[in-house]
Symmetry: C2
Subunit: 649 residues, 2 copies
C-alpha cells in the first residue's frame, strides 16, 4: 500500500497517455484496511455479551442489566396498573375458555392422556410470562407440535403397547427441546429459525393441517384401530377399511353437529367483530353441552366413546421420567431438536407478526431463551413441548390483552379446573375433541397467501409446494427436509450462477445501467462495460464468471467486427473475494492483455480491493486503471478526460 | 404496470411538494418484464443442446456439429502435420519413461497387481486423445486416486484376503466413476467440480501426499504386515511396531539411495531447464539399475523384496468383473462417485492451468464426457480410475507436446512394454516403487500456495487447513467432507449476515460510497443513506436486514439528537428478492412511516422492481420515491431539485 502511495503507477505504461486521471481514483487505492476476520469475530462475541455496545461500568450494573434482559417483567412490571390488569383478566379468561378444550384435544393428538394437555397449559405460560418479550403470544400445546411429536415418537415406542415408556420418551424429548432452544438463544443462533422461510412455513402448515384433519377422522368416526402413519395414503386407506367394518354413526353425528355449530359461530364472530368472544367460548360451550347430552341420554352405552377418568390435581413431577441414558437418548435428542426448531419458528412467526402490528420489537434470542427455559421447566412437571399458538394468540389480541399477565390468568384458570373440574369431563365424548381440533385447522391453511407467493415468486412457491406435498405424502420430517433443501438450493444456485450484466449509458447522464433492465441505455463504441452481480467472487462462481467475460469479449469482437479496445468491469456489487476469485481476475487480465484489450476495474468492495493489493493484482492491472465510478473509467478509456492529473494528491 | 404508466404516482401525496422529479425515475418503474423462471429454464436447456446459440439448419449439420463437439480430434486432426508429430513423439516417449514406473508404483498403492497400472496407462489415454479438449494433459493412474480407491475399497473387501473380489470391486467402482463423470458432462453439471475450491484442493493434496508418503514406508522398510487405515496416527503406530520387530535394512538402503538419486537429478533438472528430460527418465533408469543390481547380487535371497511375476500381454476384458447386482453395488457407486469428483477436479484443475498458460479455452462439460467415456472403456478393459496427472502433464508440456498425440505415443510405448518387457521386471525391488512414488510427492505439497492463501484470505485458509487435517488425522473422506462443509458454510454465512453500509457523499461529486471504506465520504444532514450488500434479500437475511435498518434509524435518532427525516435505501446490489424480503421492505416502510420518516428506494434490481410492483409495494412506497441514482434521491429528499417536472415523459 505504501509503495502505491509513493509511486503512483505510471499511467503511460498502460497505454494511458496524455489524458488525465480523475481525482477520486486514489480514494479506492488508499481505503483503510478492512476489519480482519479476528476483529469481526471478537466484535460479534463482544456484541453477544454486551448487546447494546456500551460496556456497563460496574459488575452490579452488569448483573442488573443481565437480569433485566432475562426477565422483561422487571421492566414493564413497574408500570403495570389496574387498567391493564382489567384488560388482561378478560383476555386471560377468554383464552382459558378456548385453551382448556383445545389442550385436551391436542393431548389426544399427541397420544397422551387428557390431563397432559392441561399440564402444558399451566407451567409453561407462567414461565413465559416473566421471561418472554412478546406481549401478545398465548403459550400452550399446539396442533402441529402435537402431531410432530406423536408421529416421530410412536415410531420409537408404540403408545398403545407401552404408554409409560412412550410418555417418558415424550418428556425426554421435551427436555431436549428446551435445552436446544435455550442454547440457540444463549449462543445467539437465532438465524436457525430463518432457515425456514415464510413460504415453506405456509406450505408445511397447510400440509400438517390436512394431515391433522385426517387423523381426526378416527375420533369423529369412533374408530378403534387406526394407522400410525401420518401420510394421506395410509390414513385414507385406514379410514376406508374402518368405514367398511366398524364405526359408530352416533359419534359422527355428535362430532359433525358441534363442528358445524362452532364454525357457524366463528363465521358470525368474523362478521361482527364485537361478538368475537362468542367464537372463543363456543368450544368450551360445546364440551359442556355435549357432556350433558351424553350424561343425560347415557349415549356411552350405545357406542359413543367418552373420555372417562381424567386424573385430578396439579402437575406431578416428571424429573424421573427424563432419561439421559438408555437406548432412546439419540432418538429423543433428534425429536427434541426438530420440535425445538419448529416450535421456535411458529412462536417467533406469531410473535413477530403481532409485534409488527402493535409496533414493538421482538428480541429473537431472548425469545429463544424464554422458550427453552419454559420447556425445560415443563419437562420436569409432566408437560410436553409448548409454544405460541396461532389461533389462541389471535383470540388473546382480539380480547384486548396488554401484557403476558393474560397468560398468567389463563394458567390460574387451568390450575383451578385441574383441581376441581376434572370429574366433570367423565362423560365428555371423544368426538367433540376431534370437532374442536378440526375447527381450528382452517386457520392453518392459508390458500390466499399461497396464491400470493405464487404470484410474486415462483421459486418460493416451489419451496412452499414441496413442503406441502412432502408432509402430505411423505411424513412431517420429509416435508421439512424438502422445504429446507429447496430453500438452500436457491441460495447455492444463485451463488453458483450469478448474472453478469452489460451496462450502457442512460442518455444524457453519467449513469450506467444494465442494458437488459433499461433498454434505453446505450452502448459506448469500442468499450464493453460489465457488472458482476455477485457479492462473493469465489470458488463457486469464479470460473463461470471468468469464462463468461472472456467469451463475451472474444465473441463480441467477432460479431460486431468493431474492435473492443477496453473492458470495464464494474465490481460495485462484489463485496468479498477469495483466492479463486483473485486468480480468475488475474486470468481475465492476462487473457485481455494478450488480445491487447485494456482492463479497467471499477469500485471493488472494501475486502476486494484489500485482497487485490495483497495478491499484487493491483500492481498487475495498474493502479491507474482502478476507478471509483464507471463514468470516470469510461472517460479514461476513451482518453477524453480534460481534467488535470491529480496523481500526487 | 400499465396503471403506473397512465397515472404517474402523485408526488404531492407523499410530501414531495413543489420540487421536481428527476427525469430518470420512470426508467426504473417502466423496465420491461424480466425473464420468467420458465424462460430462463428453457433457455438454459436450449443452450445445453445447441451450445453456440445458433440453431443448425439441418439434421445432418446438427449431427456433424455434435460429432465435432464429441471428438475434437476431427477439428484439429485436419491441420496436424509432421512437425507437430515430431514434437509429440518426443513428448510421448519422455512421458512413457516417467509413466511406466509410476504406473506400476500407483498400482501398488491401489493394492492391485503391477500390470493394472500399465493397463490404465494404455486404454484411457487413447480414448482421451480423440475426445479431450486439453492439448497438454497426460492421462493415466495418479497417486491421490489410487490412495482414495484403496482406502475406501479395502474397507469393503480386504485385498489380502480376497484379491479377486477386491479387483472386481475396484473395476465396478471405475465403471460407476465413468458413468457419473459422463452424466455430469452430459447434463452440464460442470459446477460440481467448482464445489471444491482451489484452497481446499491445496489442503487436500498436501494431506494426501503426506498420507501416501507414510504408506510408502511399508515398501521402503520392507514391512509385511501393515495397517489398512490411512490416518497418520495408525500408520505411525504400525511403522513403530514393525521397526521394532521385522524390517529389512537392505530394502531401506536401496530405496533411500535411489530416492536421493532421483531427487538430486530433479534438482539439477529444475536448475537447468534443458536437462529436464534427465529428471523425467531417472525413475525408469532407477528401475533398470536397481533391477540389474538385485539380479546380479541375488539380493532377493537376503530379504530384499522383489516384484516377481508380472502378467504379460494386453489388457484382458473385464466386462464380467463389473458387478451391478449383489451386496456391494451401493458401496461401489459411492466409491465411484467420490473418485469421479476428485478425478474430475484434479484433471480440470491441471487442464485449466496449462490451457491458461498456452491461451486456449477448456470446455468443462466436454472434458467430463471425455473422462467419463474413458473410464467406462477402462472399466471394461481391466483399468482402474484414470485422470490427468499433475506431474506427468508438467513433463509433457516441458517436453514440448503439441496435441494429445503425445498420449497416443505413450500408450503405444506402454503397449509394447506390456507385450515384451514384463519378464524383465521380475527382479525389480519393491522398494524402488516406493522411492518413485515418494519422489513425486513434493509436487503435491504446495506450502508456498498455502502461505499465499493465508496471506490473502483467512477463511479460505481455514478450508485448506481443515481439508489437510481431515485427511491427515481422519480419513480421505473426512478431509473432503470438512473442506466442502467449510466452503459451503462461508457462502451460507455470507448470505445470512450481509452487511448494510451507511453511505456518504464523496466531496465535490455526486458519488455516494460506504463511509467505512471511504472515510472522506461525508454524511448528509437529516438523511440516512443505507446500502444493502446482498444480492438476494430473502428469508435468510430479511429479518436481519430489517432489524438492522430499523435499529439504526431509531438509534440514530436518539444518538444524534438531530432528526433523520428521510431514509434512502440503495438497492443497487439487490438482484433478487423473495416473499420474505418483500414483507421485510413492507415492514421497514410501515415502521418508518409511523415515525414520519420518508423512505426512498434507489435502483432495485430487475427482478426486485418487478416483484415490488406485483406485491403492490411500489404503490405503498409511492412510485415517486423510487429513484435511479442515490444523487437523485438525495436531491428529492432535501427538496432542493431545481429541474422541471418530467413525469409525463
Amino acid at each position: 500500500m505504501g509503495s502505491l502511495e509513493n509511486e503512483p503507477p505510471s499511467a503511460a505504461d498502460h497505454g494511458f497517455k496524455g489524458s488525465t486521471r480523475p481525482e477520486t481514483f486514489l480514494l479506492v487505492l488508499n481505503a483503510p484496511q478492512p476489519p480482519s476476520l479476528w476483529q469481526e469475530l471478537s466484535g460479534s462475541v463482544r456484541g453477544a455479551i454486551f448487546p447494546r455496545g456500551n460496556q456497563p461500568s460496574s459488575l452490579t450494573k452488569w448483573a442488573i442489566s443481565v437480569l433485566h434482559g432475562l426477565f422483561p417483567v422487571l421492566h414493564w412490571g413497574r408500570n403495570y396498573n389496574l387498567k391493564s390488569f382489567r384488560s388482561d383478566l378478560m383476555a386471560g379468561l377468554t383464552l382459558a375458555s378456548l385453551g382448556i378444550p383445545q389442550s385436551i384435544g391436542y393431548a389426544n393428538l399427541a397420544k397422551l392422556d387428557p390431563q397432559y394437555g392441561l399440564y402444558t397449559s399451566f407451567v409453561p405460560p407462567l414461565i413465559y410470562a416473566v421471561m418472554g418479550t412478546s406481549r401478545d403470544i398465548a403459550i400452550g400445546p399446539v396442533a402441529v407440535i402435537s402431531l410432530l411429536l406423536s408421529s416421530m415418537a410412536q415410531k420409537v415406542v408404540d403408545p398403545s403397547v407401552d404408554p409409560t415408556a412412550y410418555r417418558k420418551l415424550v418428556i425426554t424429548s421435551t427436555f431436549f427441546a428446551g435445552v436446544f432452544q435455550a442454547s440457540f438463544g444463549f449462543f445467539r443462533l437465532g438465524f436457525i429459525v430463518d432457515f425456514l422461510s415464510h413460504a415453506t412455513i405456509v406450505g408445511f402448515m397447510g400440509g400438517a393441517a390436512i394431515v391433522i384433519g385426517l387423523q381426526q377422522l378416527k375420533g369423529l368416526l369412533g374408530i378403534s384401530h387406526f394407522t400410525n402413519n401420518t401420510d394421506v395414503v395410509s390414513v385414507v386407506k385406514a379410514v376406508w377399511v374402518a368405514v367398511h367394518h366398524s364405526w359408530h354413526p352416533d359419534n359422527f353425528l355428535i362430532g359433525c353437529s358441534f363442528l358445524i355449530f362452532i364454525l357457524i359461530v366463528r363465521f358470525i364472530g368474523m362478521r361482527k367483530r364485537k361478538l368475537f368472544w362468542l367464537s372463543a367460548i363456543t368450544p368450551l360451550l360445546s364440551v359442556i353441552i355435549s357432556t350433558l347430552l351424553v350424561f343425560l341420554t347415557r349415549a356411552d352405552k350405545h357406542g359413543v366413546k367418552i373420555i372417562q377418568k381424567v386424573k385430578e390435581g396439579l402437575n406431578p413431577s416428571s424429573v424421573k421420567d427424563i432419561q439421559l441414558t438408555g437406548s432412546h437418548v439419540a432418538e429423543s435428542a433428534k425429536i427434541g431438536l426438530i420440535c425445538a426448531i419448529i416450535a421456535l419458528t411458529e412462536a417467533i412467526a406469531v410473535g413477530r407478526s403481532f409485534a409488527a402490528v402493535k409496533g414493538y420489537q421482538l428480541d429473537g434470542n431472548k425469545e429463544m431463551v424464554a422458550m427453552g427455559v419454559m420447556n425445560l421447566a415443563g419437562s420436569m412437571s409432566s408437560c410436553y413441548v409448548a409454544t405460541g399458538s396461532f389461533s389462541r394468540t389471535a383470540v388473546n389480541v382480539s380480547a384486548g390483552c396488554k401484557t403476558t399477565v393474560s397468560n398468567i390468568v389463563m394458567a390460574i384458570t387451568v390450575f383451578i379446573s385441574l383441581q376441581l373440574l376434572m370429574k366433570l369431563l367423565y362423560y365428555t365424548p371423544v368426538t367433540i375433541l376431534a370437532s374442536i381440533i378440526l375447527s381450528a385447522l382452517p386457520g392453518l391453511i392459508d390458500i390466499k397467501e399461497a396464491y400470493n407467493i405464487w404470484k410474486i415468486d415462483k421459486m418460493d412457491f416451489l419451496a412452499c409446494f414441496g413442503a406441502f406435498l412432502g408432509v402430505l405424502f411423505g411424513s412431517v420430517e420429509i416435508g421439512l427436509l424438502t422445504a429446507v433443501l429447496i430453500s438452500f438450493a436457491k441460495i447455492i444456485i444463485s451463488a453458483l450462477r450469478p448474472s453478469v450484466e452489460m451496462l450502457g449509458r442512460i442518455q444524457g447522464t453519467d449513469t450506467f445501467c444494465s442494458m437488459r433492465q433499461y433498454p434505453s441505455a446505450a452502448e459506448t463504441p469500442n468499450l464493453m462495460i460489465l457488472r458482476i452481480d455477485s457479492p462473493f467472487l469465489c470458488f463457486m462462481n469464479a470460473n463461470f464468471i471468468r469464462e463468461r467475460i472472456v467469451n463475451w469479449v472474444t465473441e463480441g469482437r467477432n460479431a460486431m467486427k468493431e474492435e473492443t479496445k477496453s473492458v470495464i468491469i464494474d465490481m460495485t456489487n462484489v463485496i468479498n473475494i477469495d483466492t479463486s476469485g483473485i486468480s480468475a481476475l488475474e486470468e481475465i487480465y492476462k487473457k485481455l492483455a494478450s488480445a491487447s484489450v485494456q482492463l479497467a476495474v471499477v469500485n471493488p468492495g472494501w475486502q476486494v480491493i484489500h485482497k487485490m493489493k495483497l495478491a499484487r493484482l493491483v500492481e498487475m492491472i495498474g493502479g491507474a486503471w482502478i476507478f471509483l465510478t464507471v463514468g470516470e473509467a469510461v472517460e479514461a478509456c476513451l482518453g477524453g478526460a480534460k481534467k488535470e492529473d491529480n496523481c500526487n494528491v
